[in-house]
Structure formats: C-alpha cells, structure tokens
C-alpha cells in the first residue's frame, strides 16, 4: 500500500484509486465478562470510579476508540434474565457505539428482551449448536445483522479444528468450518471465533483457522483468543484476514491501550478508525 494517510481535517475528496484508507475499518472489540451485573476478571484502571461496573468500563473503552463492545454474561442464577436486561438497558443508555450481548440466549424471547433494551446484536453459542433452528428464527425475526454465532474451537492431534460447547467443556465431533458454514446458511450475520488452543496464551491468534473461515464465508469473522502483543493484531488482520479482533484481559490490565494499538495498526497500514 502506498503512503495514503488521510488525516482528519484533510478535505480533499478521495477517489476509489486512493485505496485502502477508504473502505471498511478493521474493528477492535474489548470483551467484558459479566456476573450478576458486574465485570469479572480483574480490571486495572485508575481513572474510573468503579472498575466492576461494566457500563463505566464500556464507556471508557468507547471513549478510547473501541469500535464495538461485547458483554458476555456468565451469571448462573434464575434471576439472570432480569439482571441482564436491566444491565443491557443501562449500557444502551450510556454507550454510543454498537454492542453485542452474549450468554444464555436460547430463544427468540430471550433475544427479544435484549433487543428491546437496546442491544445491537446477540451472540449465541451452545444453544444454537443444540438447536440450529434458533439461528434461523433469530435472523428471520430480527435480521442477520443481529445474530453473532460464537464458536469455541480447538485443534486436535489430527490437525482438525473441532467445535466445543458449554464454555469449552464439551467436545463435539463437528468440524469448525462445517458448523460455521451451516450457521451462515441459517442466517448468522457474523462469526465470533475463539481458539481454545490460543485463548489465554498471549502467543497470538489462530491465524490459519481464522483465515480459512474468513476466505470461505461471506460474513465478517471476529477473531478471539491469544492476542498478547500489538503485532499479534497486525498478524490477525493481514495473515488471518479477520474483520475484527476481540480481546479482554490485555485491555483490562492495560497491557495494551486501545489508542496505542490503533496507532500501531495504522503505522502498519491496517485501516482502523482513529
């Protein structure tokens, strides 16, 4: 790519030939794990009053340049639905970028409550695998753009990537690409792909399977798991062909700040929103 920096404030009218800065930006997505309406996993920010408040943390990320947020609810109580819908409502009131809510969505009704409270997308995982019709029902009712299929996958000794369920506890015999293809046919609008081999390692994203999905499927792929350095994000966008990259603890613990990461991506000719 040529030197095509278009800094804010430059008013020349770009043309198609000016290339890569015009077009869709790669997205950086912090993920917040929520239990009983609070952010879990330690967070380490001095400049917010309450690091456990997902709304405050989410708003901070939005201000810093996050492109979207994912809130993953890991609450396991019966009160869950109410707590979650109240939280989603608070997020929607305060955050001015799109957000996805995941965790425990297993019916159109569950999703409808989240949508009515202001969620832009829901992510579904195990429930969709057990009942693929759910993807179709959600897409018909709310549109594909509302349906993010999350896949937890692990590469086994045979070199194949398999789908895992229930937060990675249950192995299936289904191959990741097969399930992703089926889900897209049923109406999934995006795939959130987490490599269990890479998650938590900070050794980089799973480039091969990310690229395979991205080049095979007509929907955006959000890569998750393994991002530990800024250059890992360059790799996942260039070699992995991801449309978006998701990470949690590196942002929560301020190992990498979003402005710093985006600046680095821009220097490396990755088109990001700054």
């Amino acid at each position: 790519m040529k030197d095509d920096k278009i800094s804010p404030g430059v008013t020349s009218i770009p043309t198609m030939s000016e290339g890569q800065t015009i077009g869709l930006a790669k997205r950086i997505i912090p993920c917040l794990d929520i239990r009983d309406g609070r952010t879990v996993k330690g967070v380490n920010f001095e400049n917010i009053r309450d690091a456990g408040d997902p709304v405050e943390l989410g708003a901070l990320y939005a201000e810093q340049g996050a492109d979207e947020l994912v809130f993953l609810d890991i609450t396991a109580t019966v009160e869950k639905r109410k707590t979650l819908s109240e939280l989603v409502n608070r997020i929607a009131r305060h955050i001015n970028i799109p957000f996805t809510v995941g965790g425990g969505v297993s019916s159109v009704d569950d999703a409808s409550v989240l949508l009515k409270n202001g969620a832009d997308k829901v992510s579904i995982n195990t429930a969709a695998y057990k009942n693929p019709q759910l993807i179709n029902d959600l897409a018909k009712e709310f549109g594909s753009q509302f349906v993010v299929l999350a896949i937890d996958t692990r590469m086994e000794d045979d070199g194949e990537w398999y789908v895992y369920l229930s937060g990675g506890r249950v192995k299936t015999e289904t191959k990741c690409l097969d399930w992703a293809k089926q889900a897209v046919e049923l109406g999934a609008g995006e795939i959130l792909l987490t490599s269990m081999n890479h998650d938590g390692t900070k050794q980089g994203f799973a480039l091969d399977i990310t690229r395979q999905l991205s080049e095979t499927l007509p929907v955006p792929i959000i890569a998750s798991g393994g991002g530990g350095t800024k250059s890992h994000f360059v790799d996942v966008f260039t070699q992995g062909k991801a449309d978006a990259a998701l990470a949690a603890s590196i942002f929560h613990f301020k190992e990498i700040s979003i402005p710093d990461l985006k600046g680095y991506l821009k220097e490396n000719n990755i088109h990001v929103r700054i």
Partner: protein, 207 residues
Amino acid sequence: MSVNTISKGDNIVIIKYNAGNIQSVLYALERIGINAVVTDNHEAIKAADKVIFPGVGEASSAMNSLKENNLDSLIKELKQPVLGICVGMQLLCDYSEENNTPCLGIIHQPVKRFNPLENNSTEKVPQIGWNTIFSLKSPLMKGLEENCYCYFVHSYYVPINEYTIATTNYVQLYSAAFHKDNFYGVQFHAEKSSVVGEKILKNFIEF
C-alpha cells in the same frame, strides 16, 4: 429534562413501527439532552417540530408495518424536517430491490443490493462496521470533518444522485446520506456512530 438540553423547545417525535432500533435512537437523543416521544399517533407526528424515522430490518415488512397504520401516506405529507435512518432512509426512495418493495417515493432513486461480483470487489455483504463519509454537504453535516467514521450495517444502498450529501465507498461509491426539501436520510446508524453520530443528530435537532 437534562441540564444540557438543547435550547430550542423542540418537540421531537420518533415514528413507532416495527423498526428494531427505536430504543437505541431514543437513548442516543437522550445522551445529547433531547427527550423524544416515540409514537405512531398521526396528530402527534404531524404536530412535531422534527420527525425521526428509524429502521432496522427488511424493507417489505417495514413498509407493511407502516401501511398498517397509514403511516406511509402520513410521512409523505410531512412538512417539518424528517430524518430517515438506515432502512428509514431507504424507504424514502422509490423502491427497494429487497423483496422488490415499492417504497415511499420521495427520493426518486432505487435501493439496490451491493453486488461485489459486478464490481470486481471481494467485499462481504452485508457491510458491517465503521466506514468513512466524504464529499460532505448540507447543514446536516455541519462541523464534521471529511472522512470521519460512521457505523454501517446494510446490504442495500442508495446510488449517488443529485440529493447526495455524503458519500461512502464500499463495493462502489454510494449515498451515505441525502437531502431533498425537508427530507434527510442517513444510511449509517447515527445513533451508534459515537461523537460523529451525535453531531449529526444535534445538527438535525438544531435546524
């Protein structure tokens, strides 16, 4: 009312129909200090100072939902500023290729599906994410920098035309926003487009 309420005592109405993101639009206005009313009541809509016509979803079901309450004919007759968002913008056009849906016919343009193959493009459809808007015109875009970013989610687009006031490049150049008489449309989700979207909503409210 919030303290930072924009000084005009405007009465802002969001048209209520089966558009998925009404809550998001309401909250976005709340964040800039505007308490809007969500209604399908004809008198309330006619009496509003500004009307916002949101939209997420599929064109034909959106049109059917408008027709059920005769909102289609009402919208066409509105004289105050009207802002269509996403599918709301598309429905202001003549027809949509999405299920060959006749629309409101205020802007004499078709709404077409992105066709990457025809355009030698490898882009995915729908477009989901942040893209730039440029060649900005009209008071709606006042104070915005060229190539600022907005959040888009769509598979169908309005071609460039004489009413285009912002352009985006995805698969090809197309109308990110248009303005004809009292009707404005934005293809992106202003309510989710961070400070840029807030500026556009403020501009609209301050007309």
